[in-house]
């Protein structure tokens, strides 16, 4: 996950910048970057229509494996302790 965040540069027209700045002035976004993050996420969601199917498929597998909420919470707790020990030691 070392490259999970990265900066990119986008060149927009003056008209587009002006519209973005007016939305920021109106308080809808905090910065130009904030606006671009929202825009990128919106488009990524539109380009990933297969996601509901993926979640349904994973839910079906979880059902086969009898994964309940309590079991999941317990498994997460155990994994968290293991990962902590691996990453930070056992002090």
């Amino acid at each position: 996950m070392e490259n999970s965040n990265a900066s990119i540069t986008a060149r927009l027209t003056g008209k587009e910048i002006k519209k973005i700045d007016s939305l920021i002035s109106a308080g809808l976004y905090t910065t130009r970057s904030d606006f671009l993050r929202h825009a990128a996420r919106h488009l990524l969601r539109a380009e990933a229509p297969e996601i509901p199917d993926l979640i349904l498929r994973l839910q079906s597998r979880a059902k086969d494996k009898n994964i309940s909420k309590d079991k999941l919470l317990n498994d997460i707790r155990n994994m968290r302790r293991k990962l902590y020990a691996e990453s930070f030691g056992n002090d």
Partner: protein, 146 residues
């Protein structure tokens, strides 16, 4: 709602990312609705993401391609922040020390922590606002997913 989104950010614990996969609707609907909503920015850290992947791969042995696709989906929904170094999160006092990197990240990034784990929530409340997923749905007026 959008103007409020400029101020509020939600930091999601691992259980919120994975509860979406529990087949029972009443168990997953709040978590899925938080993940799928578009108005409030969502954050988590690398520690949580690594934990989620290890649970799906090592504990439940889910299909590798499905796991990769689900992690990619999460990356489109969440901003991922670095796991804090131990020197920073050691100021956090929690009953289970393995919760400290999560509580600290939520505090550092000025987020509301969303967790379905009551002991984690109780400890986190000493440092940040923390809600169960159902509480978050009510407080932030998040529309339930269909």
């Amino acid at each position: 709602m959008r103007s409020r989104s400029a101020m509020i950010k939600l930091f999601l614990d691992t259980n919120i990312l994975l509860n979406s996969l529990i087949p029972d609707r009443k168990e997953h609907i709040h978590c899925i609705s938080i993940l799928l909503q578009n108005n409030i920015p969502l954050l988590t850290n690398e520690y949580v993401l690594k934990e989620a992947r290890r649970i799906l791969e090592d504990i439940y042995s889910f299909n590798q391609e499905d796991v990769n696709q689900y992690m990619e989906f999460l990356l489109t929904k969440l901003e991922i922040v670095k796991t804090p170094p131990k020197e920073e999160f050691k100021t956090i006092n929690s009953n289970d020390k393995s919760d400290r990197p999560i509580i600290f990240s939520a505090q550092k990034h000025k987020c509301v922590l969303i967790t379905d784990d009551l002991p984690t929530k109780k400890d986190a409340e000493k440092y940040v606002l923390a809600f169960l997923p159902k509480e978050a749905i009510d407080v932030f007026d998040i529309k339930l997913a269909k």
